[in-house]
C-alpha cells in the first residue's frame, strides 16, 4: 500500500556549518549540525533539504551523508558557472561556523527495495546516489553505478566510490558517444528484476528515459533538479495585461502573478504554489521584456518558446506580459 504522507509541520531550523570541504573542482561538501547538538530529523536515501540562503534564495540539495548519523546533514554543492547566485553564495559566503537556515528533509526520490539496481549519475547528480549505494550494499542487493562528468578533477566523491571496485564505472570527458554506448549496455534491454535510478543534467535524464520506455512500469526513478526557483533573482514590479478580462494590473515585487490576479477578483486555480504541479499554467499571448520562468514543470524548450507559464512562481524581468486571463 502506498503511504500517503501528510506533511505536518516541516522541520525548519538554523544549523551550523561543522565542516566545509572542497571535494572536487567547484564542488564542496558542507556538513551541518544543530547548534545545541540536538538530533536532526530522520531521512532516507534520495532525500533533499532546502537551504534558505537569503530571504530570496532557497535551493534544494540532496543529502549525501549517512542516514545512520542522526546529528549531521551533508550536502554536495556545485558552483555552477551560470547559476544566478545560489550555489555561488554558498561557495563565497559560507565557511566553517556559519549559520544556515534549512527546511526538510523531504524525499521525492526514495529507494524502493529491489534485488538489483542500476544507478546512473551525471555530475553533481551523484550526491543522492551515495547513500543509495550504501543502502543497496547493506541490503546485499546487486548494483552498478555509471557516473559521467566533465573531467575527473570535477567529479566529486570518486575516491570514495573507487573503493567499490568494478561496480563503479567512471566516464569523465563528457563524451556523449561513450555515455550512449554505456547506457545501451546497462539499460538497453529491459530487466524485470532491476530498478534504474538516475539523477543529473536534463540531457542524461532524457537519454535514460528514452531507453527505459520499454521497461516495465515503475522501473525508472529519476530526480530532476526541481524548483530552480528564486535563486539569485531579484523580484521587480511589472505589468500584466489580462486580455480576456480587458484590464492591466501591476504585479508588485512582493506578490506573485497568481496572487495579484486573484487580488483583482479573478478566479484562478493553483495547487502547489511552488511551480511544481502544473495546475496554474497560463497561456502567454505577448511578452514585452523577458519572462522569468521559475517553475520545474516546463522543460527548457517549452520555457524558451514562451507559450505558457506557471503564474504561481514565474515572473517578468521587466516590461509587460499579456496573458490569456
Amino acid at each position: 500500500m502506498t503511504e500517503t504522507e501528510t506533511r505536518l509541520r516541516e522541520f525548519e531550523s538554523d544549523l551550523v556549518v561543522e565542516s566545509y570541504e572542497v571535494v572536487a573542482e567547484d564542488v564542496v561538501a558542507v556538513t551541518l549540525v544543530h547548534p545545541q547538538g540536538e538530533a536532526l530529523p530522520a531521512w532516507t536515501p534520495g532525500a533533499h533539504i532546502d537551504l534558505i540562503l537569503t530571504p530570496e534564495i532557497t535551493r534544494q540539495y540532496s543529502l549525501c551523508g549517512s542516514p545512520a548519523d542522526a546529528h549531521r546533514f551533508t550536502v554536495g554543492i556545485l558552483n555552477a558557472p551560470n547559476s544566478r547566485g545560489g550555489s555561488r553564495h554558498v561557495h563565497e559566503a559560507v565557511s566553517t561556523g556559519s549559520v544556515i537556515r534549512i527546511r526538510g528533509p523531504r524525499n521525492h526520490f526514495p529507494l524502493v527495495a529491489s534485488p538489483r539496481y542500476v544507478f546512473i549519475a551525471g555530475g553533481i547528480g551523484v550526491t543522492p546516489m551515495l547513500p543509495m549505494i550504501a543502502e543497496a550494499e547493506a541490503a546485499r542487493a546487486e548494483w552498478t553505478l555509471l557516473y559521467g562528468g566533465r573531467s575527473e578533477a570535477s567529479m566529486a566523491f570518486i575516491d570514495q566510490l573507487r573503493a567499490y571496485g568494478d561496480r563503479v564505472t567512471l566516464l569523465p570527458g563528457n563524451d556523449v558517444a561513450l555515455m550512449s554506448a554505456a547506457l545501451d549496455d546497462r539499460i538497453g534491454t529491459p530487466r524485470p528484476d532491476t530498478l534504474v535510478y538516475t539523477c543529473g543534467p536534463e540531457g542524461l535524464l532524457g537519454a535514460v528515459e528514452a531507453r527505459c520506455a520499454s521497461w516495465p512500469t515503475g522501473s525508472l526513478h529519476l530526480e530532476r533538479f526541481a524548483a530552480k526557483a528564486t535563486e539569485g533573482a531579484v523580484d521587480t514590479e511589472f505589468e500584466v495585461e489580462l486580455a480576456r478580462t480587458g484590464i492591466t494590473i501591476t504585479v508588485p515585487a512582493d506578490r506573485s502573478i497568481f496572487d495579484a490576479v486573484q487580488d483583482h477578483g479573478i478566479s484562478v486555480l493553483g495547487s502547489c504554489h511552488e511551480g511544481v504541479c502544473g495546475t496554474c499554467e497560463t497561456v502567454i499571448l505577448g511578452v514585452d521584456g523577458e519572462v522569468d520562468h521559475r517553475d520545474s514543470v516546463l522543460n527548457d524548450e517549452e520555457k524558451a518558446s514562451n507559450e505558457s507559464m506557471m503564474i504561481c512562481v514565474s515572473r517578468c524581468r521587466s516590461g509587460r506580459l499579456t496573458l490569456d486571463l
Binding site: T2, T6, H108, G218, Q262, L269, C277, V297
Partner: protein
Amino acid sequence: MKPTPVPLSDVNLANLDYFVADEAWGMFDTLRAEDPLHWQDEPDSDGHGFWSVTRYDDIEMVNKDGETFTSTKFVNLEEPPAEFQDLRRSILESDGSRHQALRKLLARDFSVAQLRRYEDFLRGLARMSIESALEQEDIDFVDAIAADFPINVLARLLDVPDDMIPQLITWGNTIVGFSDPELSDVLVDSDEAQQYKHLPFRSPVSLEIFEYGRQLAKERRGGDGEDLVSKLVNRIPEDGVPLTDTDFDNYFLLLVVAGNETTRQAMTLSMKGLMDHPDQMQYFLDNMDKSQIMVEELIRYASPVYHFRRTATKDIELHGKTIKEGDKVVMWFASGNRDDAKFTDPYGLDLTRFPNDHMTFGKGPHSCLGANLARMEIRILFEELLPRLASIEQTGEIERVRSNFVNGVKRFPVRVKAK
C-alpha cells in the same frame, strides 16, 4: 431570487428533504449570519456529526490549510472504516507530497494550453447533441442536452470506444446518485451498502468501473498512447512511487465520475438561470466574444457541488468554539458563492459581474483538476445552443437529485423551438 430564511433552530444540513426541495439556501443564509461555525448531528446515518463553515473567507481558510484540515480522512460526509481507507484512497483523499505527485501526473493534460486542441472536437460534439435534441419540441433538458456531452468528452480523453459510452453514462449516474433511490440500486445509508464499505461510494458499480479501467490499462501499458489511461499507466509519479493497482483503479474511477454529473448540473442550472433572467440570455447572445468571462458567472450561479469535507488534525478555535482533533469540517462551497460579504446581490445572475472570484471549483491544493475542461464544455455548449433557439420555456416541474453533495436536477422539462 433571495430565498426564504430558515430559522436557526430548523437548520438541518443532514436532512436531504431540504436539498431536494432546493431550500438549502435559506439555511446557508441563516448560518452565515447567525452561526458561522455550526455543529450538525447526523442522527440518520452512522456519522459522528460535522462542523459546517458557510462564509466565503472561512471556507477559503479551511480549504487552503491542508495541514490543519486534512483530506486523508476522506472528503464526503461518509466515514469509511479505517481498514478500508487505503483501499479507497484516490488523489482526492491524499495530501502532501503524494498528492502533488498524483496531481502532477495529469495536471498539464487539463491545462488550457492542452485543451485548446479539443476545442473543435467539442464544438462538433455539442452541435451534434444540440441538433438531435432540437428535432423534438418537448424535451428533458438534462437528458437531451446536458447529460451526454460531458461524458462524451471524457470518453474521448480516455479514448474509450463509442459503444461503451452509454455504459459510462449509466455508471456515472448510479454512483453519483448514491443517496437518491431513483438513480441507485444500493443507497449509501442502506443496510445493503454496509457490505460495500470497502468500495468507493459504497457502490458495487465501482467494481464494474474498476474492471473496465483495468482492461484498458492492460491494453495500453507500455504503449505510447496520448489518452489519459495510457498516461496514467505509463508515467511515473514524481515522488518515484509507481501507481499501485488500487491507485490506478481509484484515479480512473474519479475521472469517470468527477467530471460527469458536476458538469451536467452546471449546464442545467445555468440554462435554468438564463431562462429565469431573459435579459441575461439576451446579453449572452449580444456579447458572445466575452463568453469566457460570462461562463465564470454561470458557474458561480450554478454551484453544482454543495460541499467537500475535511478533518481537523488538531484542536482549533474558530468563532468562539473549539473544533476538536478528528472532527469533520464541511466546506459549503455553494454557500460561499452566495456570501454577500464577497458578492453584491449574490442571488442575482449578472454576466458582467466583476470581480468574480467564486469557489465553485474549490480554492486550495485540491482545487478541481478538471476546471478548465468543465469551463470549456459549458462555454461551448451555450455558444452553440443559444443562437439556435427561437424560444425555450419550462413546461413542468423541475425534479431535483436527493443529495446534499451534488446540487442537481434530474428532470428539467422544456419546450424548445429552433431558429
